[in-house]
């Protein structure tokens, strides 16, 4: 190889690198545009959180969490896994609506929903890796031992498989970005199969996360412990997904306008109304299911206790109220109100999952509510991981055709 050829190759690589990774800028320009208020805040959060993550892996969980013999789980799982997974049902719900049920109008949102789902699961696993005592053994349920009677065994297998499925579902966007026509064609051909696989895996592991708590009837508060837990978790994951699509698309349209095309921006308002309608309907169903779960175990009397009032606040303030806000917005056609309802609905999911996994569990131990308050280090780690999540999301949206269509590829 002579010098000339090498030089051409180097130039090609530089052009490719600038085009694909630096979005057409050179290094100095790229670095300059990185200095924004958001990025400075993100850098501060990471400069605190990343060293704490290192401390966790060098000195053990005790160095950064309040994990104890009575309280094995904290917000890594309560927020990251139990909260993160339902909010990441976006890919499953929108892909099913679009590819299977034929809601073709929602095309501009499908890729965004699939990406939100894929990254949501990826980061749920990252929270889990922070929490596992020996994270390097994460593959053990696949190879070393099969605890087939364990609901967590099902969750492990499904989350791992579904992460792969979602990667394949999102891969056409990556391949379009990389201009790999032939592999993209193959990736598109498995879309329907992957979508149906996604339905199977999602319905099962979303409900399984609720079923996990069925094993602890002696430790759970009766208002949250119900044989309905699996169906409650599944039902709420559907409206979590619809709310999250609204949340994510709103943020993308507001802050990453330059990554979006006109199709996305002009369709967003009517599509948001449709999503809001679906979310509110599912929330009403969920609200009634919650009431039936109280009736089923005849726990009405418990509603008059402090825990009962917290339970009422959860289902009225964080389910019924967001549903009513959504309905109001849909009825009057005011997208802003629908967005408000969607943000409240998504927040309500986090409240519910924290309630089930942290507030209701061990409620009868002395000084319980004091014990579930996480130390600042644990919060800082969660904030750091959430920040990386947002940064990765933005990195992909800015580069790959997600909220815009690559002109030469529209057949998906």
């Amino acid at each position: 190889m002579n010098h000339h050829e090498t030089a051409v190759k180097t130039d090609n690589f530089r052009a490719w690198f600038m085009d694909k990774l630096l979005m057409g800028m050179d290094w100095p320009d790229y670095m300059r545009q990185l200095i924004t208020p958001f990025n400075i805040i993100a850098a501060i959060i990471l400069s605190i959180g990343l060293p704490l993550i290192a401390i966790r892996f060098i000195y053990g969980l005790a160095s950064v969490t309040h994990a104890s013999q009575d309280y094995p789980w904290g917000i890594f799982l309560g927020w990251g896994l139990f909260g993160g997974v339902p909010l990441s049902a976006t890919g499953f719900v929108l892909a099913t609506a679009y590819y299977i049920f034929g809601f073709k109008k929602y095309k501009p949102l499908v890729r965004l929903a699939v990406l939100a789902g894929f990254l949501g699961y990826l980061f749920a696993v990252i929270y889990l890796l922070c929490d596992l005592g020996r994270p390097w053994r994460i593959y053990y349920p696949m190879i070393i031992g099969f605890g087939t009677a364990s609901v967590l065994f099902l969750v492990a297998w499904h989350v791992a498989t579904y992460l792969t499925v979602q990667f394949l579902e999102f891969s056409p966007a990556i391949l379009e970005w990389l201009q790999s026509k032939r592999i993209r064609k193959w990736a598109l051909s498995i879309t329907i199969a992957m979508t149906i696989a996604g339905i199977i895996l999602s319905t099962l592991h979303q409900s399984a996360l609720g079923a996990m708590f069925l094993l602890a009837p002696g430790k759970m508060h009766p208002l949250w412990y119900s044989s309905y837990l699996p169906v409650l978790f599944l039902c709420s994951s559907i409206y979590a997904a619809l709310s999250m699509v609204i949340v994510v698309s709103t943020l993308a349209a507001r802050f990453l306008k330059k990554a979006a095309d006109q199709t996305f921006l002009s369709n967003l308002n009517p599509l948001t109304l449709g999503l809001g309608r679906g979310a509110s309907l599912t929330m009403y169903v969920y609200f009634v299911l919650k009431l039936i779960s109280v009736a089923h175990d005849n726990n009405w009397a418990l509603l008059a206790t402090p825990y009962g009032q917290w339970f009422l606040l959860e289902i009225v303030g964080f389910v019924l109220l967001p549903a009513l806000i959504l309905s109001l917005g849909v009825k009057t056609g005011r997208v802003g109100i629908v967005r408000l309802g969607a943000f409240a609905g998504a927040l309500g999911i986090v409240v519910n999952r924290i309630n089930v996994s942290m507030v209701a569990l061990n409620w009868n131990l002395p000084d319980h509510l004091h014990h579930i308050v996480p130390p600042w280090q644990e919060v800082a780690i969660v904030l750091a991981i959430a920040t990386i999540h947002v940064l990765v999301f933005r990195w992909i949206l800015m580069r790959m055709p997600v909220i815009r269509e690559a002109p030469e590829y529209t057949d998906h």
Partner: protein, 336 residues
């Protein structure tokens, strides 16, 4: 699960000859698994294949290993000397506690087991007799069908035919679901360790059982408050005691039915709820609470592809019909 646990247990038998007849579950002709096949090939468990038709059950119910051992803790005999704590500490080679085992000041607060303490004795007021407190020993209850084993996604727990619930740190990845699932709060974790954290708990001195010794705490008890024996014998003994001294005991053997029954049984003069025993547990094993959900898995795997595949096909079909209609209309218009 039950079948699997039995196979695992049978493989781990130490006194195989003595107990294998009673522990081998009858296999039907279709029940020939790999282990059974090896049996035909000249290994030891061939007798399992010769089971008569009458022994083949369509409905399988695991009522626990028939000859499993247990412990009977008679709280009315316990004087709170903590000899059991000392014996446990020594037998398991655990680090010495800050306060010595003779130090009664530990009773000032309720203690719990942890990664350096497999058993503790707590003191409670005795409402019936304020002068004499009640002491309660806490340790793994060794459930007949343990929730920790049900929870574990890697099968790191097993219930041995001897009755001990064992834990294998080589399999554990540290999810700590067992700690959430255990109704008695027994599995404990060493959060201090970054590279080799693991669960610690009482294992009924399994190594001592294997060489014919009894668990260290029972051995160390000077007041015979802890009796070691076959669980079935201990239940009989406990019932006799209640019958003979109805004034001394409340009429309940804790552990006979709780969470499906435990190898460790308690007799008490004070209602168990007042001694922090969980009294809100179902009588059936906790695995039953999740069985219904898990049985939906094969249904979802078979019905969903059919259902959603059909919906997809029907939407496509409708689209194709509309397309045909449109083309026909266009042709019609062209003709006119």
């Amino acid at each position: 699960m039950t079948q699997e646990r039995q196979e695992k247990g049978a493989g781990g038998l130490q006194h195989g000859g003595r107990r294998s007849d009673s522990t081998d579950q009858p296999h039907g002709p279709c029940g020939i698994n790999r282990r059974g096949f090896l049996g035909v090939m000249g290994a030891v468990s061939g007798s399992a294949l010769l089971a008569s038709a009458a022994e083949v059950h369509a409905y399988k119910q695991f009522e626990g290993w028939p000859d499993r051992y247990g412990m009977l803790s008679d709280l009315t005999a316990c004087v709170g000397c903590r000899s059991c704590e000392r014996a446990c500490n020594e037998a398991n080679g655990l680090p010495k506690p800050k306060k010595s085992f003779d130090d009664g000041s530990v009773f000032a607060e309720l203690r719990r087991t942890d990664d350096k303490t497999y058993t503790v004795v707590n003191r409670y007021e005795n409402p019936g007799d304020p002068g004499t407190p009640v002491y309660r020993k806490v340790q793994c209850m060794h459930c007949n069908e343990p929730a920790c084993a049900t929870a574990c996604p890697i099968h790191a727990y097993s219930k041995t035919p001897e009755g001990a619930v064992m834990y294998d740190p080589d399999k554990c990845f540290g999810c700590r679901y067992c700690m959430v699932a255990c109704p008695f709060g027994i599995p404990t974790y060493d959060y201090e360790s970054a590279f080799q954290p693991r669960i610690y708990k009482c294992v009924l001195c399994y190594d001592r059982l294997k060489v014919g010794q009894i668990p260290a705490c029972a051995q160390g008890c000077p007041t015979e408050a802890i009796t070691f024996g076959k669980r079935s014998d201990l239940l009989r003994l406990a019932r006799e005691r209640i019958l003979e001294h109805p004034d001394r005991y409340i009429d309940h053997i804790y552990g006979e039915h709780e969470a499906g029954g435990t190898s460790w049984l308690y007799l008490s003069s004070v209602p168990f709820g007042q001694l922090d025993f969980p009294t809100n547990l179902p009588d059936r094993p906790l695995v039953e609470e999740t069985k219904g959900f898990l049985s939906s898995v094969p249904v979802v795997f078979t019905v969903w592809p059919a259902l959603f595949g059909m919906i997809y096909a029907s939407v496509r079909h409708r689209d194709a019909l509309q397309e045909e209609l449109k083309q026909e209309q266009e042709k019609e218009e062209e003709r006119q």
